[in-house]
């Protein structure tokens, strides 16, 4: 268990692109363009991943075991068979959770110094 904790900790802090991809896949399996669109929609267009950044990140995340390629395909009428779908792994989920915890702790600290909105 301690090993696994150390493993997860070794990923932190996550690059913004990596975190966004994990968040996007936490909801459902998606293909590349869907991830880009989801990130844009969630951030109101503030974060726009380029294809190059997206696939470099995916390539690395696959190697690191944060993602896998999903074998389940959407219904045939919606599927484009040339597309690849990605699914978050349990490790990916754990890493995303750990990153979220790290970020919220940071925000809490900032709040305590009056640097962030919310209760002091």
């Amino acid at each position: 268990m301690a090993d696994r904790q150390a493993d997860i900790a070794s990923f932190l802090p996550l690059a913004p692109a990596t975190f966004h991809i994990l968040l996007s896949l936490a909801a459902e399996d998606r293909h590349g363009y869907a991830i880009i669109q989801d990130v844009e929609a969630r951030t109101g267009g503030e974060v726009s991943l380029s294809a190059a950044t997206l696939y470099r990140s995916i390539h690395r995340m696959l190697e690191e075991g944060l993602l896998v390629e999903s074998r389940e395909r959407p219904p045939a009428e919606l599927d484009d068979e040339r597309r690849r779908y990605y699914r978050i792994t349990p490790l990916g989920t754990a890493v995303a959770r750990a990153e979220a915890r790290r970020l919220s702790q940071l925000v809490a600290m900032a709040r305590a110094r009056g640097l962030a909105p919310g209760e002091a």
Partner: protein, 859 residues
């Protein structure tokens, strides 16, 4: 969009195949979404590719390296073999290259060095002879080919400095020499035409080294007076630190002064002439013009300039032909070692790839593409090559001081060869090429196997293309090893043959040193005689000394000093067959050197200038001029006077052990006019003793100091050292080549061993079956040994042919040894057989120990 697709090629192929299409599709969708700003989106996308592609490459590299470290940790033997193998190959090649680069390739440290030429006189038998002042002056006046021409004469001068009197090497130069080379003084000024004039105050330029050592690097040295050979000189300048001309030890320069009488004698070969080609003039044009001028001078001075031509060569080529050949042989040997290294590396990698077949198959099955596997393997071989290369540079750095002894002393370049930037670049390039070149092929083969499922584990025959390739590599190694062994053997045999040459004197137990007497102080023959008599008298009285004497020059140290001989009033012929080397000697010199007296007597104290002029000649002199014998009492004209032969002695190898020498003539030191032939003034003291020669030195120093406190002593050496120096560069050469041959031999042995052990493990099943069917251990042993012998034989035959060719190419280094020298070839072949036996023995024994039951059950 096409640009974008093109840029995708910056990614690793596996990445491109995986994601390229999707990336294009996304970009297309985004362009549509962006509408009017679609083009901008495309540009941004293109810009983003480069950093991302680099990042992907980096992450793959990290991954490969991690993987490599893990797998090397599991099998460290491979890395421990491969890295030293590479280090030896790269190290040997790098060291040889730095030396060759330093001596042969690197331009001289002057602007436009390729325009500088050395101009010499030529006579039949003497292709490059030092020009006389008269001819130099006429060449300089009449030529149109050169922008400038200058001359110099090496001198050595006694400087009475802060640490007592010392002897310094330098040159007397014409005022136009330094400007013509294109150098500038670091301090002060060069000589001017005024300094050249007779009667002008003496001026001197110091080398940077001398200035720092004797004058503390003081800038106020300009204008300081120093005493050189007892005469006052004013320091006018200091040369830059990297300037050493014409030789590396040059410490100071003085103006050369010609009197009218210097120009009169055109047989006084004493100058070195350097010229810079004029704009647009080729060396060939200059040669043609100088040929015309030389022919004109020959008509004008038919007696002195008979058969005299002008010879031009690039200043760079001033180093001896033999020195170049030695270096080229060294480079050839180094390339051989590198070749063997590469063959061995390729073999190691092939074997390793085969051993990892299963692992590669698993990775391929898990979806790793071929490109990805090749990349992994090439990264590994490159990393190994770099590690080996780095170690190799260290090897080269350590080896260079040894090799530096091969740098000729007359190379006008300061410093010693070092591992510097060009050399490092060379080593880096070599390493990369080795790693990629010899890593890719095994990787491609291994991956093809892995993709195709590979030869099944059960396949056992030793045949197949891979086996053939590996055998070819081992055969190449053996062939190259034979070439190196034979070459090293030939050089060693040549060395021992030269060392066994009789120099014509007995070198052991003799101390030599130089007390160069300055002029005008010692111009007077009587004053000189007084010096010699007093020094020799006290030296001979030292305990253990058996004989002692002075001579103009020691043999092998000064090889020239020749003079034309004429008999019975015939005109002088200055060709090689009418020249003899001239030495003025004191009584006792010939005995001290150990030259045997064959007839008549030695020179004596009674041979003074007012008595009949006499000479002692060598046996070859008699043979040439009076072949019928009876030389005593014969007369010949030599060095301005007619002389009578009073003694005959054995021949001495004046020009060294490897070259024929002119016959020798020894003249009594008193039979010369005051101020004449001062160049030939006796200065080298030779002392033969029954005690250790070096132990006499303090006493000799005291004696010289007592006779003349201002007289420095230089060039202290034993006569054995003088002779050993003759073969020093050869000895280094033979040793280096021997080391290369030993490395090659070892590597080829490892190659045979590796191939056979692999073959044995591949054929374990077959061997097991054979043994189960009743084959005896002896038969199995014989089978493997035969395999090894076959490999060796296949390598030895072409190797011997190549070795013969190599031997012929370096025939001039072999001192007359036949390039097909049978003992050398036999020894090399025998060594190769021995190596094969040792290389095969261990695998063969392993084959014998194969347990048939276990092997067959494994199937």
């Amino acid at each position: 969009m096409r640009l974008y697709r093109l840029l995708l090629h910056l990614y690793p192929a596996s990445f491109r195949e995986e994601y390229g299409e999707e990336m294009c599709r996304i970009l297309r969708s985004r362009r549509q979404a962006a509408g009017a700003r679609g083009l901008l989106a495309l540009w941004i996308a293109c810009w983003e590719i480069l950093p991302n592609a680099l990042a992907v490459h980096g992450s793959l590299l990290r991954q490969d390296l991690r993987y490599m470290i893990r797998s090397l940790r599991q099998a460290p033997g491979f890395a421990l073999t491969a890295i030293p193998v590479i280090a030896l190959g790269i190290g040997a090649t790098t060291a040889a290259f730095s030396l060759a680069d330093f001596v042969l390739l690197r331009p001289l440290p002057f602007p436009q060095p390729e325009r500088l030429v050395k101009v010499s006189e030529s006579l039949p038998g003497y292709p490059y002879l030092e020009p006389s002042p008269g001819n130099y002056r006429d060449w300089k006046r009449q030529n149109r080919s050169f922008a400038a021409m200058g001359a110099l004469r090496p001198v050595s001068l006694n400087l009475v400095g802060p640490s007592g009197p010392e002897r310094l090497e330098g040159a007397a130069v014409t005022a136009d020499l330094f400007p013509l080379l294109g150098v500038r003084p670091a301090l002060g000024r060069f000589f001017t035409a005024g300094d050249d004039r007779e009667g002008a105050a003496g001026t001197v330029l110091l080398s940077d080294g001398l200035w720092r050592r004797d004058f503390g690097g003081d800038r106020a040295v300009l204008g300081r007076r120093v005493l050189l050979d007892g005469a006052p000189y004013v320091v006018v300048g200091v040369m830059p630190p990297d300037f050493s001309f014409p030789r590396r030890q040059a410490a100071l320069w003085v103006p050369i002064r010609f009197g009218e009488e210097d120009f009169a004698d055109r047989t006084n070969y004493c100058l070195q002439v350097v010229a810079r080609l004029g704009r647009g003039v080729s060396l060939r044009q200059a040669r043609t013009e100088m040929g015309v001028i030389a022919a004109r001078l020959e008509r004008q001075y038919p007696k002195d300039n008979r058969q005299t031509g002008a010879a031009l060569q690039p200043l760079r080529d001033g180093t001896s032909e033999q020195g170049r050949l030695l270096l080229l042989a060294l480079c050839g040997a180094a390339s051989c070692v590198l070749l063997i290294t590469c063959a061995n590396l390729a073999n190691l990698l092939l074997a390793r790839a085969l051993a990892r077949r299963a692992e590669l198959q698993v990775r391929a099955a898990l979806g790793a593409g071929r490109e990805r596997l090749v990349r992994q393997l090439v990264t590994e071989s490159l990393a190994l090559a770099l590690a080996g290369g780095a170690l190799g540079v260290l090897v080269a750095t350590a080896a260079l001081p040894l090799l530096a002894r091969l740098v000729p002393v007359n190379l006008p370049v300061a410093g010693v060869p070092a591992v510097d930037l060009p050399v490092l670049l060379f080593a880096g390039l070599l390493t990369t090429l080795t790693g990629i070149g010899f890593g890719t092929l095994p990787a491609l083969r291994a991956c093809r196997d892995a993709e195709m499922g590979g030869p099944r584990q059960g396949v056992r025959a030793g045949g197949g293309r891979r086996e053939r390739l590996r055998s070819a590599l081992v055969i190449t190694e053996v062939a190259v090893a034979v070439v190196l062994l034979v070459s090293a053997g030939l050089l060693l045999r040549a060395l021992t043959r030269i060392q066994a040459t009789d120099p014509g004197f007995r070198p052991s137990g003799v101390l030599t040193l130089r007390t160069a007497l300055p002029t005008p102080k010692y111009e007077n023959t009587g004053r000189r005689a007084d010096y010699y008599t007093r020094v020799l008298g006290q030296v001979r009285a030292l305990p253990g000394v058996t004989s002692a004497g002075f001579t103009s020059f020691l043999p092998m140290v000064m090889r020239g000093g020749i003079w034309p001989v004429s008999l019975g009033g015939e005109p002088e012929d200055r060709g090689a067959d009418h020249s003899a080397s001239l030495r003025y000697v004191t009584p006792g010199f010939l005995a001290a050197l150990g030259v045997p007296l064959r007839q008549g007597r030695d020179v004596s104290e009674a041979d003074t200038f007012d008595r009949p002029l006499v000479a002692v000649v060598s046996a070859s002199f008699v043979h040439r001029f009076w072949p019928q014998g009876h030389p005593l009492g014969q007369r010949f004209t030599f060095a301005f006077h007619e002389r009578t032969v009073v003694g005959v002695v054995g021949d001495v190898r004046v020009r060294g052990l490897e070259r024929p020498s002119e016959p020798q003539v020894y003249l009594p030191y008193r039979q010369v006019e005051d101020g004449a032939l001062t160049f030939f003034m006796p200065k080298d003291l030779v002392i033969r003793a029954g005690v250790e020669p070096a132990s006499l030195l303090p006493a000799v120093r005291r004696i010289v100091r007592a006779v003349d406190p201002e007289q420095p002593i230089s060039d202290v050496r034993t006569l054995s050292e003088v002779v050993a120096d003759e073969t020093a560069s050869r000895a280094v050469q033979a040793r280096v080549l021997g080391a290369f041959a030993a490395i090659a031999f070892l590597l080829a042995g490892i190659g045979i061993y590796g191939l056979l052990s692999f073959a044995v493990s591949q054929r374990a099943h077959e061997i097991g079956v054979r043994m189960a069917l009743g084959a005896r251990a002896g038969e199995i042993l014989g089978m493997i040994l035969r395999h090894g012998a076959l490999l060796a034989a296949a390598g030895v035959v072409p190797g011997a042919v190549l070795a013969y060719a190599a031997g012929r190419a370096m025939a001039s280094l072999l001192a007359g040894l036949d390039p097909g020298d049978a003992p050398t070839f036999l020894a090399a072949v025998a060594l190769c057989l021995l190596m094969t036996l040792f290389g095969s023995l261990w695998p063969a024994l392993r084959a014998v120990r194969v347990d048939p039951i276990r092997v067959i059950r494994k199937e």
